[in-house]
Symmetry: D2
Subunit: 377 residues, 4 copies
Amino acid sequence: MAGSIFGDIFSVATWGESHGKGLGVVVDGCPAGVPLTEVDVQRYLDRRKPGETKYSTPRKEGDKVEILSGVFEGKTTGTPISMIVLNTSQKSRDYSEIASYYRPGHADYTFDEKYGFRDYRGGGRSSGRETIGRVAGGAVASKILAELGIEICSYVKSIGDIEIDPGKMKLEDIEKSPLRMPDLEASERAEEFLADQMKNHDSAGGVIECVISGVPAGIGDPVFGKLDAALAQAVMSIGAVKGVEIGSGFAAAQRSGSENNDEFCIDKDGKVSKKTNFAGGILGGISDGSPIVLRAAFKPTPSIFTEQGTVNQSGEEVKVQIKGRHDPIIVPRAVVVVEAMAALTLVDRMFVGMSSRMDRIARFYNSSTAQKNYDKL
Amino acid sequence: MAGSIFGDIFSVATWGESHGKGLGVVVDGCPAGVPLTEVDVQRYLDRRKPGETKYSTPRKEGDKVEILSGVFEGKTTGTPISMIVLNTSQKSRDYSEIASYYRPGHADYTFDEKYGFRDYRGGGRSSGRETIGRVAGGAVASKILAELGIEICSYVKSIGDIEIDPGKMKLEDIEKSPLRMPDLEASERAEEFLADQMKNHDSAGGVIECVISGVPAGIGDPVFGKLDAALAQAVMSIGAVKGVEIGSGFAAAQRSGSENNDEFCIDKDGKVSKKTNFAGGILGGISDGSPIVLRAAFKPTPSIFTEQGTVNQSGEEVKVQIKGRHDPIIVPRAVVVVEAMAALTLVDRMFVGMSSRMDRIARFYNSSTAQKNYDKL
Amino acid sequence: MAGSIFGDIFSVATWGESHGKGLGVVVDGCPAGVPLTEVDVQRYLDRRKPGETKYSTPRKEGDKVEILSGVFEGKTTGTPISMIVLNTSQKSRDYSEIASYYRPGHADYTFDEKYGFRDYRGGGRSSGRETIGRVAGGAVASKILAELGIEICSYVKSIGDIEIDPGKMKLEDIEKSPLRMPDLEASERAEEFLADQMKNHDSAGGVIECVISGVPAGIGDPVFGKLDAALAQAVMSIGAVKGVEIGSGFAAAQRSGSENNDEFCIDKDGKVSKKTNFAGGILGGISDGSPIVLRAAFKPTPSIFTEQGTVNQSGEEVKVQIKGRHDPIIVPRAVVVVEAMAALTLVDRMFVGMSSRMDRIARFYNSSTAQKNYDKL
Amino acid sequence: MAGSIFGDIFSVATWGESHGKGLGVVVDGCPAGVPLTEVDVQRYLDRRKPGETKYSTPRKEGDKVEILSGVFEGKTTGTPISMIVLNTSQKSRDYSEIASYYRPGHADYTFDEKYGFRDYRGGGRSSGRETIGRVAGGAVASKILAELGIEICSYVKSIGDIEIDPGKMKLEDIEKSPLRMPDLEASERAEEFLADQMKNHDSAGGVIECVISGVPAGIGDPVFGKLDAALAQAVMSIGAVKGVEIGSGFAAAQRSGSENNDEFCIDKDGKVSKKTNFAGGILGGISDGSPIVLRAAFKPTPSIFTEQGTVNQSGEEVKVQIKGRHDPIIVPRAVVVVEAMAALTLVDRMFVGMSSRMDRIARFYNSSTAQKNYDKL
């Protein structure tokens, strides 16, 4: 695949550039019968919308989504769902200068090497606006998960070296924090830190944590199709992500087996459970019924307003100063993008996994032979 | 895909269990004309072989590979390369007891949930022996990369909290260290730490670093097909890996943009280069010509000999003590597995990317029209 | 894949229903640098447009295509090309009755069984309008082929039992015939036959032939990836196609080996050629440099105006009479659809095949090692 | 994919050449819990075995299959099933001469063009022995179908211009006919015809018909994922197949809509059925519950013993006479290959289709939310 299609059974094909006519996504493989309206999708898109706080670009776009196909009388039909968001506020003239040189930390140089030239207006396909298609597709995936009792909760865990205190974390505070940090004390300190960074014409990164609860045990495939591997690809494919971890993650490398193993136990409902969750809900690449916990590390926004050295397209070293509108941090707006990628991945792997057992297939197709052979099971 | 096939154009399908008749791989999409012998593959397999040091299981297996197809007169023919390693030393009786309970930190429970039952002998398909297929396939990929002047170098960066000192690192020491740590002082300290862990019937994890040099700029696709996303999936699919990072990785989240951006410059050969490589050789998901740097965090071996609480298949909480032969650390043996996955990924993405530019396609197919239209370019 | 995505490297994702807001396609994997405008695509769409002759539905739609992304300054950028055609003339009320019963020869019943319900307006996703996405995508593929000197020519070979006489066939007459039959005498007889069918409230089918010239030898893969297998899937996926054949096709089954084998020879340019082309340009699934010849059999339009027996959604047998606007034959309008599918398939297989030889890969990536090893070849 | 892997969820990767060490297949995506032994697979392989009658090559091979993985205590485990058949009787010396020229009707020339050289011994990967992997994989797929009450019946419909009389066809006669023609009178005439062809050092082709009964309605996907399109690719990928048709096939092109439409009716069990089956069990690419009927046209064996003109690798026109052991007709031995490809395709499409409806997914995953939302349906 050339890059803009994701998923084996529940697939999305995203398209669009920052400064083209619009952006969108085609969702193929959505089951029929899922209740879906534009409001469901808009709610997700609004969470990534620019212009909400002082820490995001002042570009005021409606980013209104329109569903063009695949929904009939309020329900998905099983056929492709095409969604579009028109670009309304781009100003191409802002970008005329940067056509001539390679911005440090951006994909200008690599696009030129790959394609021979690039749509230099606003980063083209490597712009943060590319995530509109992901989020719209993820909204559909999240609807499916909700029907199955599966919920995804994401938030900012740290900005720079300011981290939320797990003891003080309250999930209901996520949207109360302008930085989506569910520890309002840490959030305030992070705001001060960001004010400083902006004063210095600099930028910051951070870590997003995502917790998926209600996932039945048994999702994911051994070897290359591991659920954590699929999540890692999905999350690492978000621009600016430089690291992904599951459960105890990098810290696991420093722990002893006796510390890191989760003992199994029987919970109060008589079901198999685990006393701890260092595994992050995945064992051998397959979900174990505990919440899935992943974290993504985002690098600082590369668009900074201090002078930087670089090279122009004539091959000369030059000093440049980036202008325009750029978030000093993208992490709070990326929370919903991580959530979208997690949802897309999980739905796809759940659908792929429906044929892992002959007894369940036989019951699903409900043949009389199947009843004879498998109903006693 | 159900899980055991990896790659879009250069694909491997691996198979085999720890205690079955053998393990192997089918490589499909290997170009014709690559010089390949069993010696080339054996060299890679020997690097993951058990029984080499006191830190790996004493199981003495030859793990001799046989090439069954796809090679004719010393060269690949372009058709599938089937390779097999027969199991020779497995003892099924060692595993009879563990059939009845779920080992903490292992995939016993999740396999049962997914498949309804499991081949309990030695972990079946979630055994470390599963990596034989990856490494044999990776050996073929590495041969292709070598023909293109691309080299992969991997080593152990840390064990527990003992890390190599970059200032003292010597790549030529990798194989001198029984732990594949190219800082012999750190390696010695890690040996002492492991001796302690073994005494305590405990285990340890660590971090592997992998550096790929000679990769041309322009490999990888935007959005979902990013080279770093593909590498993340590949490496996270290795059993026991809990985190993956590229370049400055998780540390990037704590850095300022001005610290983390790599300035472009012109090198002494007049080519575009970068003054630093915090990006780890990838910008916007596409290789930038600098070395690609990735790290994988491995959890401690879950098979420990101290008593642990768990649940048996009758749903009762029990205390268990694991027996048998188990490495106190798998990280040194996993170095070649990380390398194999990196090679498989890179070859596949290089092949996918050959059609990214019309001028290059036209020259490749060399039509007269193409000459007219594109030879001036 | 769920069904609306086609192609491994050069992929299209089509979407849209007959009576939704519009239809479209996202092309992913188009190389950068292909000259492309809306005029290029419109030319193809106009060939499938309804309302052109008395043998097609009088529905007057503009079917104007808009390119939304992936093109910058008149050239493709390598990123997804999203194209849309808005529906402008659909009348939902025409279809209110047919919601209640299953039209013979249509997909009403099978959609209900698969999805639980259906968008009954105009056939939804099984409407002939679905081909708009294919044709728009095929127009892009044809542009790429044209750059490589490859041309596709398609026409109607027969309607009912009236067949063109190969001796009288003139390709320049294709568009002179309202039925796209390049033997104007046969075309006239077919017109009379169709007038009779319409008088009887009946419909007709036919055969389309497609000839692809200029394809280099060596395209296609052995075993499952055969070029003819890929073409068969592509063409059989067009609604109403019930048979596909390559070269001598079904007639080959009645021939002797000595009649059907094509002898190789040296042509006047000193190149390997064949004296005959019963193989239809493909040997062992791989193109042999001769023109590729395929034929597709289309069933008669199932929407006929005579009374038919069927079953309604309450499970009762009923008599029905279909109303509305329906072509008595779709074959002439399907010519461009066959061409589009052939183009999409060929481009995809050409791109997949670029990595079949190590020497060509080495030259493509042009490394110094490659030069050493392969330039002597 | 490079060509030797087939299927999206239930996948096979086949490997091996006529004159290598052996041939085999890796089946990935087989559900756990299917009863499977080597006897099940051997039964299928025996149906394609050479040396059974005077119409097939006298090469006496055991073609004994060995299952190397994926089966534990008589049942599939859900992990890859690797199967191997060792080559025991090949004689490389028979093929030394043909290395130098291109056999008419064979893939020698196209392999050379694609790969730069070829394994000339016995056709390498384009040999009929390649089908061993397909048939072994198909045997597993057929086991799954049998568990679901689905049966495939295939036979030779015609050889040369001798066709079975549908009125005299008895399926129980398939294996009584040395040509697998279930009309023993036609079979006898075909034997006489073949005796003549052999006398003339010539060969013959024929048509195989395949009927799949018990398929539930609703299998297959709209647009590109149509069940008939998938079957067409699968069957056309068999060497020597030049045409594929479904239901009334090419004859449909000559019929009127009123003749070709199948009227729906209510059968004696009160279920929706069809009065006729010209559609061949598929409407709009989705199974309709009637038997699926497909036919494949095989060209005559290209290896004939009369003198033929061709070109050698030095680019000279030469006269050649092929030697060795070659079937005058491969159609009877190909019956099981068509059946295998049909089974592989159907299982894969059934697995892909399990996620087409939200209500069924919800019941499958059986969440409490699902029960609330969907159990009333």
